[in-house]
Structures are given as C-alpha cells and as structure tokens.
Symmetry: D3
Subunit: 258 residues, 6 copies
C-alpha cells in the first residue's frame, strides 16, 4: 500500500520533517512518501496563501494517480483543497486538521486546539464546525509563532505547552496541535501537560491506511464524482481534465491526471 503525504507549501525542510513523522507510525507494508508542490507559497498562514497552495496540491494528487498511489494526506492544518483532491483521487484523501480532530474526539469528549498565528483561528473554527466538532472543541488558541519559525525558535515548546495548559484549564481533556510543523512536539507536550496530545500528520497517515484497508474511497456518486472534462485556459491550462472514466472497482473511479 502506498500513502503519499503532500506538504502543501514549498519548504523542503518541512516536507522532510513531515515525512519522518509519517513513516514512524505507518504499519508494516505501508510505503509512505512525502512530496511538495512545484508552485505556491513558502508557508500557509492566510486564506490567500491557502488558496494559492491548492493548485500545487492538485498537481501532486494527479501525479500520484499516475503512479498508483493508494491514499493521500494533505499536511496543512487548514485542510486546503480537500474536496477538490477527493474528486481527483481514486483513493482516500485526508486532511490533518480533520484527522487530528477525529482522533482527539475518540480519547476525550472535549479537546482544544493550539495553532500558530491568531489570524488562522477563523479557519480552524470553520473546520471545527464543518466536521461536526463544535460541541467537542473547547477553544482554539494561538501561540503566535509563524510556521517557518517552528523548527528554530527556542521558545516553541514552552509556548505550545503554555497554550495547551490554557485550553486544559478551559475544560479540554486532550489537545490538538494546529500545524504540521508541530509534529515533532507531540510527545513532549503530552509529557508536560499530562493529557493526550494529537498530531494531525500521524493521525492522517493512519486514517488513510485504515480507509485503504477497508476498501473505502471518496464516493463516486454525487459531490465527489470525478470532475467533468472541460476547457481550462491561461496560466492554469495544464490542469485541464481530458476525460474521466469509471473502472470496474465496486466504488471509486480512475480519474485522468491533469
């Protein structure tokens, strides 16, 4: 089984970090690789950057389809392009915010989220509501460290621990880390705070391999059916879909790469 983790930004060090975390937890027989787009922003901390990361994510899914990848993880806590990727992929696609929230809800009735910048809290709230965790999520707090500083800033652990304690104080019984770049902090934060701490990268890899093991793919009926063939022009002409054909699998389809 092949699972591809897509780092939606173009920063190589972060792609490598995410890949390492992902490989640690994958079951025997599950091959995990980590890739990044050829285009887009160096990190994602705004809706603008998130929107411009999506073409690169779709590019990587289309490449993965050509290579026979079985499942995908989109490793940014804004879960960018998830619905579009599900239309394109013949296997499951998981976002790390989605995966982390699902996992947290299985070990605690109420959890909190600790994210990077305050300005990303709106998107986190939107995802919480969309995934059905509005009652479960106590609070979203920001540690105010930019994504690309997470690897270098010596205060990162202390600040994530401080915000984690703050959400526990508000009633959370587990903590969700709100950025793929925090993946290496998971155990340390848990040791310090004394509650389960969930990293979305590992959660998403394990959920993706689980769905593949169950033979589950995005429903080919309705919303996640393959996108129709249609002209695509200008700078984005390369994303044009030429044809979409359903194969004989019980559900799911083979979609043509862009």
């Amino acid at each position: 089984m092949r699972i591809r983790v897509i780092n939606p930004n173009t920063t190589r060090a972060m792609t490598d970090l995410i890949g390492r975390s992902a490989r640690v937890v994958a079951s025997p027989g599950v091959l995990v690789d980590a890739v990044q787009p050829t285009m887009g922003p160096a990190s994602i901390e705004s809706h603008y950057e998130e929107a411009l990361a999506v073409p690169g994510i779709l590019e990587q899914v289309a490449l993965g389809e050509a290579e026979g990848v079985d499942g995908y993880v989109v490793a940014c806590f804004g879960d960018p392009g998830l619905d579009a990727a599900r239309e394109l992929a013949s296997g499951p696609v998981l976002g790390i915010a989605e995966a982390a929230m699902h996992a947290a809800s299985l070990v605690a009735r109420r959890f909190g989220i600790v994210t990077t910048l305050d300005r990303t809290r709106g998107r986190a709230h939107e995802l919480v509501a969309r995934y059905g965790f509005a009652d479960a999520c106590v609070e979203v707090r920001a540690c105010e460290i930019p994504v690309l500083d997470l690897e270098h800033d010596p205060d990162v652990l202390a600040r994530v621990v401080a915000e984690s304690r703050a959400v526990v104080e508000q009633g959370a019984e587990a903590v969700v880390l709100g950025c793929a770049g925090m993946t290496a902090l998971c155990r340390s934060v848990s040791d310090e705070v004394g509650v389960p701490v969930v990293d979305g990268v590992t959660a998403a890899v394990l959920l993706a391999q689980s769905l593949v093991a169950m033979g589950l793919r995005p429903s080919a009926r309705g919303e996640y059916a393959p996108p129709p063939a249609k002209p695509m022009t200008g700078l984005l002409a390369g994303f044009e879909i030429m044809s979409a054909t359903k194969h004989d699998a019980p559900f799911g389809v083979v979609r043509s790469p862009a």
Copy 2:
C-alpha cells in the same frame, strides 16, 4: 463609487450577462463593471474547477485594487475564494450565494435553493451552514442543467420553475437561484411560482454598494488582515505579495497588488 463584478469563469457571454443584470439595479452614481480572469475553467461545476478559479479571482481583485475599485462581487454560487479576496481587498467583497441567502432571509423565514447540477448541492449545503442559514434553508434542489447550457436550453425556465415549486411545496416561502447564469430568469420564475425569487448577482451588487456607503470593509484585525509578504514560486510566482501597508483609514488597509 466603483463596484466590480468578477465572473470567476472564462466564458465571455456569461460575463456580459452578469454585467447587464448588475448594472440594472445599481444606484445612481455607482459604476459597475464586469470582468473575468485570464486563467481557469470555462465554467464551475465541481470543487476541482472552483479551486482552479480562485487564482483568477485573486488576480482580478489585485487589478481592481490598483485601479481603486471600492467593492467586489464574486459571481459564482460556490462563493469561491471569498476569504482570500477579503484579505486582498481594501473594500467589501460579496459572494452571490451569501448575498442571495441574506436577502431571501429578509423576506421569508424559510427559503429553498434551486441550483444547476446535483453534484453542486454539497457545496451549497456547506455554504448554507457556514452563513448560519441551516434552519432557514428548507432544501437545495438541482435542475440538472449544466451552467453553460443555461442560456441556450429551451427548457431552462420550465425546469427552474418546476424545482422552485417543489421547494415551495416543502415549505419554502422564497426561492434562491443557485447560479449566476440564472440571473435573467428571476422575474419570470417569480411570476410563475408566486413567491419572492432572489438572484444573487443583483443582491450582491446592492449589498456591496450598501457596505461601501456605510464605510464598512473587511476587518483588518485578525483573520482578514492583509496576507503577509512571503515567497511564492513556480507557476504562481506572479502572485507573490511584496509588502502590505496599513493606511490611516479607520479600518481596512491598502494591500499591494499581486
């Protein structure tokens, strides 16, 4: 006052149609123009297409900022790129789904939506929930006519009327048209069905000019603050933000074009 209506697809006839509807309702002294991106899909009927329409929308907003546009309308019922556009624009940005639902809720407690293809109903439901209209929206129904056939298919009116009657039968007391391409049908459907029928294009233009008149812009505090300056590479390098400076207006900012 200048209001720009952005048709997010690349079909000229549809841009012209939308522009005509928009200009009919704008108040004296409000200049309305209608534009379309230089890139992206010919029409939007999937998440994939919606995602790939967003760069073109942002391109048009950035151009509008350079030209001093006061407010924007994104004229696709999926409200693509709305949050990103609000970060980029110094004036209000309205989606037509959002505008139509707000308007409908002011003349009827419960409304229904008649959209194009069944596969777009998922996105419509998502927007209904996000905007707070889950209790108000009785049902989303599809007339199963593709966007680009709306102008030519002789059955369009009959089918939109049939689906409109169906949502009224379910308890709706107003109908929202679920595609910018239905803008010219509004009065005819209302005459046939006997309830208020709301077209998002005109609703959004009027809401945009109203917000401008009130001096309201996307909040510069938190989520909708201007996107940070940051490297953007590859095919999308042209979207890099060089700097973002706040000016002395009471709220809102001047953002640099991409």
Copy 3:
C-alpha cells in the same frame, strides 16, 4: 423610492437623531422620513415596553401603506413587531438588529454586540439565534447606560469603546452597536477600536432600499400573507382589518390600513 424609519418609542429627539443618520447614507433618489407612534413607551428597555411599542409600530406601517411607502425600518434593537409588520406591509420591513448583524457578518467572521442595559441581553441573544448568527456572535455586552441617557451622558463614548474593546478581546473582529440611540457614535467607536463598527439604522435603511430595488417584498405565501379580516375590540378596535386584497404585482399584496 420612499423609505420610512419608524422610531418605536415616543421620544422626539431620538426620532430626529435616527432620521439624520438614515438620510446620510440613503442613495440618490431615495426619500427617507422618520416617524414615531402616537402611543406607547418613552423608551424600550424591557419586554413589557417592547410589547407595548408594537401597536404604535403597526399604526405607523398602516399609515405608510396608505401613503405609498416602499419600505420600512423599525429602529429599535429588539426588532419589535417585525413579523407582524411584514404581514401588514406591501414592501420590505427591516429591523435594525437584523440589519446590523447581517452587515457585520459580511465584513468579519465573528462579531460582538454592545448594548445598553444588561437586562436587554436576553432579547439580543434570542435575535442572534433566530437570525442564524449564533456561531458568528462572540458575545453581547452591556454598557449599562439607559437609552434616553445616550445623548446626554458624557461617558457614553468611553463606555461603548471599553465594551467594544472587551468583545474584540474575546475574538470579535467587528462590533455591532446594540441601540438605535448609538447611531451617531459609529465612526468614533471604529476610530478608537480599529475594527469595523456597524450601526443598525444605516444598515437597515440601505438593506431596505436594496430589497426595494430588487423588487423583493415579504412573501405573500404562508406566514407573511396579509392578516385575515377579523373583529378587533375594546381599546384596540381601531386596528381591525376590514379586508385584504392581493393586487397584480408578481409577489406582495396591497393590505388595507388598520
């Protein structure tokens, strides 16, 4: 186009204040007048007073119908009598709480409300829920200044600013002013707090003229159909409806004045 702003209390100075705010924002060609009932309370700060303000509001709508008014604004933040007024009026009727919340939700994902007395917060919460803004509204705070002191109390601006900052501290990215009597404070509060601040009087006037421009009226089907002719006795005998006739407009009806 004629828009009538109804101050639901009987205090002339407040009617004049509201009228001035309303006229500033109305588009060219829109005539705005401000009226007040011949009966009822001097100000509205309780459910009791709100209930007893409604007959006077309905009286003013009935008079407006006889005079050919196109749309109405009910200028009290409790939105008293809105549904009843919609049955009576052939054009749109807007409440200022409703209008302000809709406008705020278009420039910020989350807003807070600053109202007058603590005891009015329950009604504000009820309206927030009814209009679908439960997720969007962060908090309702009171500045504890009675309605009729708003024009005279020298501390008003300072206290509204303080409470506005408090809701921003809780995550609000815009502020809604919770009383028609605060209409003149809007710009000053925004200047001080640095986020969009929404005044319901101007928002409602602009939404009312927008709905008229779109040809939208309260749905004549179902809930907002004209009230049936029926005996009305005692002190309120003058409110008896003699007949209700639908005219030939595509939607809406001509209702007979009380």
Copy 4:
C-alpha cells in the same frame, strides 16, 4: 393556590372551554379561573393578531397581581407576550406551546405538532427552536381549520387524526396539539392514533402549579426583572408602570399593576 388561565382572544366560548379543561387536571387545593382580555382580536392566526393580543394579556396579568394570583397560563399556541408577562408577574407564567413541548419530550424522544392554519407554522417553528426542541420536533403540520371553527366543524377530529397519523409516519412517537381550541380532542386523538397526545392547556396548568409548589418564580435578576417605571402615552397610557418594588421573598418581586 390560585392559577389563572388567560385566553388571549376575546371569544367567550373559547375561554369557557379552556377553563373546563384546566380545572379537570388541577390538583386538590388549586383554584383555577379562566379570563379573557377586554381588548384585542377574536382569534389569533397571524403575527398581527398575536401582537395585538399582548396588551390584553398584560392587562389580565396586572389584574391578577392585584388579586394575588400565584401563577398564570397564556392559552394560545403562539405563546404571545410570555417574556413581558414574566416581567410583570410575581409568580410563574407558562405558555401552552412551551408546556406541551416540554411534556411531550418527557414521554417520547421525538414528537410532531398538529396546528390550525398553515400560516401559523412559522411561529411554531420559531418556538420549537427557542425552547430547544429542534431535534425533538419531527414536523409541524396544519389541519387547515380556523381556530373559531374548531368547536363547530364536524370534520375536526378526522382531520386532526389524519395529520397526527402523518407526523407519526414521519417518525414522531407523540403528538402535540397546536391550538388551545383543540383541548377537548386530546383523548380521542390519542385513542385513534395510538400514541401519547399532549394538550398544552392542561400541561401548562400542571406545570404552573408545580412551579408554584416549588417556590419558583421568574428570576428577578436580569432579563425578567420588573419593568422600569417610565412614561407611557396615547391609547396605551393606562399601561404606565408607576413604581416597582422588590419585597422580601427570596426571589421574585411585587410589581405594580398597570
């Protein structure tokens, strides 16, 4: 203990009917009387009529306070004026929609409502949401018989039974009767349909006497505090509150009659 049932309309036959139902269920030692206002509509089937019934309800509560009544029931399914009455009364005030929904939720997870005219369904939905029964209420159906015909129309039982069966078909396991005028049908409908059927008049009388027995009154802190003394003019001058004084009971207040 004295419980007063207020029929909010001015039709004597209905007041008598409601009074009979109320007295059947009251516990020994509980005195129940039924009154009607001196002003207002002959029946309530629109928001307009509901709004104009409220002054008469408040008049009857004020009279009841002067006479030492311990608790009140407002016997119209729109629960008109409930919040205002709670400010005025020193004892509990129950609406019949509220009481019936609470009772139904205690014997079935999901219930349906059978009301009179289709146009009243909007108000019923609003109350369902306000009282927290949105998940519990399967459907609101109308039998399309006007309130004042309920006593005379020979088809009433058959039509209420038919609509009751329809809500049971949709998953309801109990039925709420949506009009005080249906109070005498309760047992017959239950016999026919085979599920619990709840009449709001009897439910409200029993809840009111239960709250009195527990010493519970509307909270005097915040929203339901007595209305402030304030000028009231014109036709409604008689409703002016002269003073409001708290007495020494642990909660609740003595309010002055209008």
Copy 5:
C-alpha cells in the same frame, strides 16, 4: 396516585433524605415512597458507577410495576437508565437532571448547573445537549465535594453558594443543583444568591405527578415499546423478560416484571 422515587445508589441515608424532599412537594392524594436497589455502588461519580447502578434501577421499576406504581423518579443527576426504565414502566419515568433543567428553563432564559465533582461535568454536558438546553445552559461548575460528603461536610453550603454566584456572574439567571444529595440546600442557596434555584428531586416528583394527571406515559410506539422477550444469562439471568403484553389503555402497555 403512587409515585416512586428511586435512589440509584445503595446508601440508605441518601434514600431517606430524597424521600423527605419528595414528600414535601407532592400534591394531596399523591403517595410518594423512596426506594434503593439491592445491588450496585454506594454513590455515583463516574460512568462506571452509573452503568452499574442501572440494573438496580430496572429491578426497582420492575418491582414497582408489580405493585401498581403510577410514575417513577430516578434520583441521580446523571439520569442513569432513563430510556431503559421507560421501556419497562407503564407510567412516566423522570430523571432529576431532566426535570430540573426543564423547570429552570421556565423561570429563566439561561441557567447554570452546580454539580459535585469535576469529572461528572462531561455527563452533565451530554444531558444538556440531549435535552435541548445547549443554548440555555451557561456553564456547569463543580464544587468538588463527593456525593457522600454532602450531608456531613460543613463547607457544603458555602461552596455551593460560591459556585452558584460564579455561574450567575457568567450570565445565568437561575441555578440547577447537580446532585440529589443537594436537595435540602435549595432554599438556602436561593436566599444567598438571589435567583431561583432548582432541585431536581422535587421538580421530578411534580413533573411525574403532572404527567400521570394528564394520562401521559412513555409512547408504546417505537423506541419506548416494551423490550422483547429474550434469553438473559449468567449473573443477570433474573432480568429476563418472559412476555410483554399491551393492554387496552389508549397508550402505554403493561410490561411483565423482570
């Protein structure tokens, strides 16, 4: 009429205390007795204990059915076994959390809950949501006194008052006591805090007698139908249901005791 209050734990002093509170409020002609199971935990402060209290509750309901009891109260704030008891009983079954929340919502728009240990707050939140009071319940706070210390700890009143004041500070206008063992504190807390305070034991007894007076029982259609006859083995063999027969009452059934 016979109402049986079941203390779900095996502590005799608490059974006696609950019985005394229950008898004080019951109407003339209503016989109230208080019983406890022959099996299970000494008190209930965890899900584990709550689950193991349920067989004993069902045992007492089955005994009550054989003795002709008309209605039941389950006197633990976790409302353990409520749905199962409703299948078994031919009359109404009330939980004290349920009853207290319903009563509180009738005298205040928003209430708070003061419970025993922090670890029980999760269950309280779950019940708040299930019963539809998510908007009404401001907060659940714990006084951190174990159930069986409530009668002896000299600080109980002071700590319950302190937490009650804290929920009032958060906007609650009434307080719900979150444990049957607090039943005797109700009036004292109310005197201290100045808002209505609701004890679930008395609320449940009064609601149970009210439902009996209305002839309402758990719906025999669907979810609350009597449990099917079926083998039950091992330690729990005595709970086997031999047969279930419906009698001729309009709703409700005679169920055979375990």
Copy 6:
C-alpha cells in the same frame, strides 16, 4: 499489539462472525481476538437489553486489562458502555457506531444508516447527535430484521440493499451498516448500490490500532479518569474497584480489574 473485540451479547455465532471480520483488516503484527460476556442478553434491540449488556462488557474490559490488551472494540451499534469502558481501560476503546460514522464522514459529506429494527432508530439518532454528525447523517432507516435473524434470513441482502438505495435517494453518498451482524454484507451491498458502504467492526478495529500506534489513550484527566475505589454490593459486588493507581506513562493509567 493486541486488540480485543467484545461482542456485547452472548451469542457465540455472532462473536465468531465479528472476530473473522476483524482479523481480515488488522495490520501485520496486530493480534485480534473476539470475546463475549458471561452474562446478559442474547442480542441487543432495546435500551433495556443495552443497559443489561454493559456489566458484561465491563467484565471483559477488566479481564483484558489483566491480560495486557492494548485496545478494545465494543461491537454493538448502540455503543453500549463506551464511557464506562474508557474509564476502566488503559488503552483506547472504540464503539462500532462511532467508528463507522467517523469513517463514512471521510469519504462522503453525507451518509445514511441502515439499521435492524425501527425501535433502535432513536438510539442511532442520539449517537449521531452526540458524535457531531447531525448535519452529515441524512437519515436512519430500518430493514426490520431482528439481529439474530441476520445470518439466516435469505432476504437480508435484498432488504439492506433496498434501504441503502432509499438513503442514497435522500442524498446520502455513503451508507453505514447499523449492526455488527451485518459485517459480512459490506462488500455485497456496496457492489449493488454503487457507493461506499462502511462496516463498523472493521472500522473500529482499524481506528483502535491507529490510536494505539499513536500512543493515544483515554484522557486520564477529568471525565475518563479511573473510577474511584468504592463499595459495590449485592449481585454486582464482584465489580467493586479496590484501588486505582496512575503509572508513569505520559497519559493513561493502570486501572485495577474489577
């Protein structure tokens, strides 16, 4: 890694069936066994039976703790005793309803549930709401085949397919099988209906092994802390907890077996 699947009823054939399904999907290195209680009902189709299945589930968890089991699955669609089991276990505990709904929500925005008897729909709705899937779950339908007939009734596949098609017709894009006894039908139903079909047994096994792989256990802070030591008497005396000690793992505890 050891995962234990607990069939909460006492029917051996069903335990064997569930065990076979579970072992098929488990990853290499994951040992799965299937057990059943020594006490309780032969199958679970009512709240009464569900309540009486819980002691046997807790018995099996306590035994598992003594044997060093890493994670548990409770294989009944009512998810009985989940919270209590989480207090007792040092590793994750998954319900099959919970697991199936989470999995379905990852491959389709909206799903439907096909369960056994109509009377179990209430519990299914309750779980849907508790887990946050109220928006995602289109409908719960019953095929009206008792649990123990699922293996023998020749019409089972046809009836499950028919109900699955019915939920798809209502807008579901995936189907959740609402009983552990349907585990063997998953692929056949999917082949027939053409959408993803989710079996909770396999979903729960894979989620349990994923949580173990991530080092996640029920939070030891607050609600899921080990139950306190306390007397347990009568028939259930064997369930008494003697002591509970926290060990040095970053989260989770060693709990003493009953």
